[in-house]
């Protein structure tokens, strides 16, 4: 075991390396490139035995990943934002093949307008694809989640591909101390892949991913994917316990921070949740009973855990780094649906949209959001959803518009 400074990308590459992956179909995209550069270098120098191939697109990359998985090898791949969307057809397709592999997505805001900085619209567009999703908040978690993801996806009760998600720049290009576990311990936790009956062999005629006619068989195959995804919550609980025994780090499906005696809760996913943690500490210093929950799993959705953590609380702020145009925050919608009809559900659920396209969320804004929920609880009604956006930012955009010669109708 060694503790060293690694970027999120570096941690992802190490995760793949430790998992002993056989095959890495790749395609470069900022801010994910470091992952495949590191793997390519290791493959060239013989430090890993896996074979890396650069495809001509993410659509092809995901096809190749699925096809190799369907032939019975352990596959790793990575992409980001536009790339994830370019491969979207194949995300849905290969998930239905029921051949597991791991894909790291480095979240980045989607075009248009094009940007390089992160938010979660890319990964949430893949929400219903059949891939399971693990969301990370630290570089250590990126490495560890890749090991967990293989155990999870390859479990015979699950057999679904898994996306491990991290935020571009805030994790992908940010170095943090990361413990790189010893290979023998990893091997104990994650033995070589046994694909069982997933294969293409000359002696076993197999037709995979065939067509169906009619809604009856189609419903069966699709709903079984859903049942397997739901089953994966219990599988995840089991393997994280084992992970914790081997490596001393625990990863519950939902991270709960200072929630037990809390009256108010922040809900976030991804790396900005550590900013919320910091705010929770400062608010606690000020005597405020507030905590944070951070779903690590988004698919499967850990509904029971979320209910357990939120029921009985007075007010909840859901902070979405994504936007469903014409509806609002996606995580907010998911949390609301999990709580609806629960006898003990928190009466106040407030939606905030922040961090779009890498826009920072300041500590002051967390404090203000905490005040907002407290006020809403006192008044007994939730305010409308709010975009975190300041006067200063508006002025700046106005300046840009003037320079862009935008004629404004006054």
């Amino acid at each position: 075991m060694k503790r060293t400074l690694l970027t999120g990308n570096g941690a992802a590459a190490w995760g793949a390396r430790l998992a002993g992956v056989d095959y890495i179909p790749a395609f470069p995209i900022t801010p994910q490139t470091e992952i495949i550069e590191a793997i390519a270098n290791w493959a060239d120098s013989g430090e890993i035995s896996g074979r890396m191939v650069t495809l001509e697109s993410e659509h092809s990359m995901i096809t190749a990943a699925g096809a190799a998985a369907a032939t019975g090898v352990r596959v790793f791949t990575a992409t980001s934002s536009q790339g994830l969307l370019y491969g979207m057809e194949m995300l849905y397709t290969v998930a239905g093949w029921r051949a597991p592999f791991v894909l790291v997505n480095v979240s980045r805001g989607l075009s248009a307008p094009i940007t390089l900085e992160p938010d979660h619209n890319d990964i949430l567009a893949a929400r219903d694809s059949g891939f399971l999703q693990i969301h990370c908040a630290t570089c250590q978690e990126v490495l560890d989640s890749i090991l967990l993801a293989y155990r999870l996806g390859e479990d015979e009760r699950v057999r679904l591909p898994v996306i491990v998600n991290m935020d571009g720049f805030y994790l992908s290009f940010t170095r943090e101390p990361v413990e790189i576990p010893n290979q023998d311990v990893v091997n104990r936790f994650l033995p070589p892949y046994d694909p069982e009956n997933i294969s293409f062999r000359a002696s076993q005629p197999t037709s995979q991913a065939v067509a169906v006619l009619g809604g009856g068989p189609y419903s069966y195959f699709r709903y079984e994917m859903h049942l397997a995804a739901q089953k994966s919550i219990e599988v995840f609980d089991k393997i994280t316990r084992q992970f914790s025994e081997e490596f001393g780090r625990s990863y519950d499906a939902v991270e709960a921070y200072r929630t037990e005696d809390a009256e108010f809760i922040f809900v976030m996913i991804g790396s900005f949740a550590t900013k919320a943690k910091e705010a929770v500490d400062r608010l606690r210093d000020a005597g405020r009973a507030i905590g944070l929950i951070r779903p690590r799993l988004l698919r499967p959705f850990p509904e029971a855990q979320i209910r357990r953590l939120l029921n009985g609380k007075k007010g909840v702020a859901v902070i979405d780094q994504n936007l469903s145009m014409g509806k609002g925050g996606i995580l907010y919608t998911e949390i609301a649906s999990a709580l609806y009809g629960q006898p003990d559900a928190p009466p106040i659920l407030v939606s905030f949209i922040g961090g779009l396209g890498g826009r920072d969320i300041s500590q002051e804004e967390f404090f203000e959001m905490a005040n907002n929920i407290r006020r809403a609880v006192e008044e007994g009604s939730a305010p409308p959803p709010r975009l975190l956006y300041t006067e200063g930012e508006m002025k700046e955009v106005r300046k840009l518009q003037a320079m862009a010669n935008v004629e404004r109708q006054m």
Binding site: G96, W97, E156, Q208, L227, A228
Partner: protein, 312 residues
Amino acid sequence: MYRIRFHGRGGQGMKTASRILGTAFFLEGFEVQDAPRYGAERRGAPIFAYVRADREAINERGIIGRPDLVIVADESLVPIAAAGVMTGITGDTVILINSTVPPDLWQNRLNITGPILTLPMTTEVEDRLEARFIGALCAGAAVRLVDVISLKSLKAAIGRELEPLGPEIVKKNMEKALIAYNSMDGHAGCVKEGGGMKAEEYERPTWIDLPFDEAALSAPVIHGAATSELMKTGLWRTMRPLIDYDQCNRCWWLCSTFCPDGAIRINDEGYPEIDYEHCKGCMICLANCPPHAISAIPEEQAKGRSEGGKKS
């Protein structure tokens, strides 16, 4: 509401029939739904189309479960369960079959007491797939059987639906539709509108909780070889190729090589044998047999004959 189903084979014009009837109802002031039902099936395979018509807006959708009228353009489909001709037939359903066999014989065969009518529509051709105007014939008969559509609307509907085929073909279709219409004079109005479902008394769906199956079981994977042979595509065939083994010179088995479906095998003596369970009746073998040893006969004439496909 009128609920009407047309059954035929791919290529026989069932979609045309449903569109002509749908348009005719529409021109008569009805609210209408018409649709063909597609599957993986191709020319010659059983298909159907359907029409709903009502004075009120129609909320029902999809396949018609309980038809008031079923028109069968190809009688060979009636006994084939997969064709679904008899699905949802009640004592009130009128069945019209393109056939020369009299109705009472059909009632005996199918063991039903409900009204059956017959109308020979395709006697002038050997191969029913070659017959033309069946769509117009079926629509013309249906119009008379419901008897709520004027001849003017029927003609206008044919004009609208077939216009791209040119005035000659439209004219010919109108003549054919009229013949079918007139031949149903004695049964005008025998098809009555069916009612809606009753919410007080219904058959409860047998819902289950879908059991969790591991992916080893529930992935869309076929473990096995050539399972397609369970599909009896011989049902698509309306004409049967027959090999005259006195003429067959066991050439170089062009019939077997060219048969797209691989439905002609070569036996131990070097004679080709046709697999009638799967032969789709394309007649490529007939067209390419060097000594012209292959002929074709209508499928119904071949019933009970085993020779011609197997060297005895």
